[in-house]
Amino acid sequence: MRGIFKNTRFTGILNKVLTYIFLTFLSIVIIYPLLITASSAFRVGNVAAFTLDFSGQWTLDHFKRLFEETLYLNWYGNTLVIALSVMVFQVTIVTLAGYTYSRYRFAGRKKSLIFFLIIQMVPTMAALTAFYVLAMLIGALDQYWFLTAIYIGGGIPMNTWLMKGYFDTVPREIDEAARIDGAGHLRIFASVVLPLVKPMLAVQALWAFMGPFGDYLLAKFLLRSPESLTIAVGLQTFISNPQQQKVALFAAGAILAALPICILFFFLQKNFVSGLTSGGTKG
């Protein structure tokens, strides 16, 4: 599109002015809160007001306190362990299933694909009460395997569909050729087709990692003791008590959690927008 209004000179200029005002305003609205959090982590003393203020002195003290006086490193470790295990298991399971549905025609294929589709609509929430009750009953509160299993299982149906969609875009002639050359099932899968879907694997891995990393609901439900929390649930303990808010510590912790994710996000952004649109909306 050229411009929003008809192309007379006056409306052209008006359009430009309005456009830049809109863009600037939106940018400020986005950056302002992020900058408040970022700057609060470096301000000297106990931050009283959570505002944008560059007048005081700068310090790295809050980070030091974060490591020494709080369980933050514990939480960070917990989160990484959970998110990485989910990533490994989920990507493996989803890749195997997606490949199978894309490449093999077997009895029950169509029915089970529809089964995936229906299961996919059942929100994880539908089992919340059961998760909690089961965890209490078998003593799995605070147990990572339990939480990890739920994350893995919950992501399987939808991601299998997306993965299958992506495998469908790899021409079947490639594996036909390999088969004629005498490659077996595993060979064709592992060394012929798999390398061709690497971009989608990266996307799946990122999703599988980000899900548990950013999840608050299940972690809040199933993790109880202070040292077993994830970052999301742990950081909240800094600000949930209005009497003794540790805003500066929260800000420092927030930066350390957000930075790696942001970098990963922008690094893989192109991949995953296309992964969304090619697999997601077209099936």
């Binding site: 009895a107 929430m125 957000a258």
Partner: protein, 435 residues
Amino acid sequence: MNKDQTLAKRSRKAALLSIIPGAGQIANRQFSKGILFLVITGLFICELAVFGYQALIGLATLGTVPGEDHSLFLLIEGTLQLILTLVFLMFYIFNLYDARKTAAMKAAGLKISETAGDMIRNAGDKGFPYLFTLPAYLMMVFVIIFPVLVTLFIAFTNYDFYHIPPNSLIDWVGFKNFMNIFFLGSYRQTFADVLGWTIIWTICATTLQIVLGIVTALVVNQNFIKGKRMFRIIFLLPWAVPAFITIMSFANIFNDSAGAMNVQVIPLLNQLPFVDIPAVAWKTDPFWTKTALIMIQTWLGFPYIYVMVTGVLQAIPGELYEAAKIDGATFIQRFKHITLPMILFATAPVMITQYTFNFNNFSIIYLFNEGGPGSVGAGAGSTDILISWIYKLTTGTSPQYSVAAAVTLLISFIVIGVSLIAFKKSNAFGNEEVM
């Protein structure tokens, strides 16, 4: 004609015989397969006799002796047994189908594998897809189907803080929980309030984020803009930073006494002529808490829509606009008849999932103000949506598991219904060959 008849007869005979699993296969001279099927059936019957029958009875009664029978374990064992039985039934149907198909293949003169060696080789080849999808199924059965069934059952019991096994028994109460939610004074009022706000929240927050996303995409997509890359990166930031971090930041920013909104933004606005806004009770007045929540979700959610819509806009061929222009279409007409339909067509399913996402958006409600301020009865705060109410019902000091399960089921029905529409629209099966 005659051949067709014998063919039909044979496959009917095989199917009939395999009422006892394996017998049909043996009639087809597939001895090893037949014996395997017989053994599986035998094992299942043994399991049923030793353990399963009791488990199913337990599921029906939920225990009879208080203090001795643990109703919850009985419910869970019974559910597992139910799943096992269903799996066996599926195997049984497969057995009928297999015997018939093999008989038909034999009658048609096709080679079938009869010996054990043949069968194993065949299974290695044909069984490959099943082997590869097995982990996915196991996970789905244990992590989705089993817990969902348990929740479903709990919703029809009286499991709450008065009935905590093993000290007391849980009983089946039919639709009582649902009736209570809809008709019993205390629950009905809370449910109506919470549902009302959940719907308002979902519609306002999601629609606003969609509108802002589309508008931003349209504005940024104009050719003359300088620094497009910079704006793109800025507009993606709310998506890139993990949501729980920004929500907690906003929880601080909207703090009544120390947050930036009251301490910095409003005083700054008051510098303008004719503007005089008093400090706003963001966290203590339900109306303002709700307003803040909707604004924050718009902030968080619009980049996703913006990225999607930008992709669509760039794919619309320029000639379409040229042609429309030549025909004398104004900007508004072009937008209404070309741009908007294109956007909606390509992104409708994604947008519907945005609505279902916000419907269950526990993080923002709970992280911003823990569902507060105040209370609308039965443990729910004034900004609690259904999902956060369930959390409070389940983990509160006097847990109401059965009511929580019932509300969970109601939510799931709504979400599944909406997703069905989304999937129908997206035509997920449309591009699937051989479906």
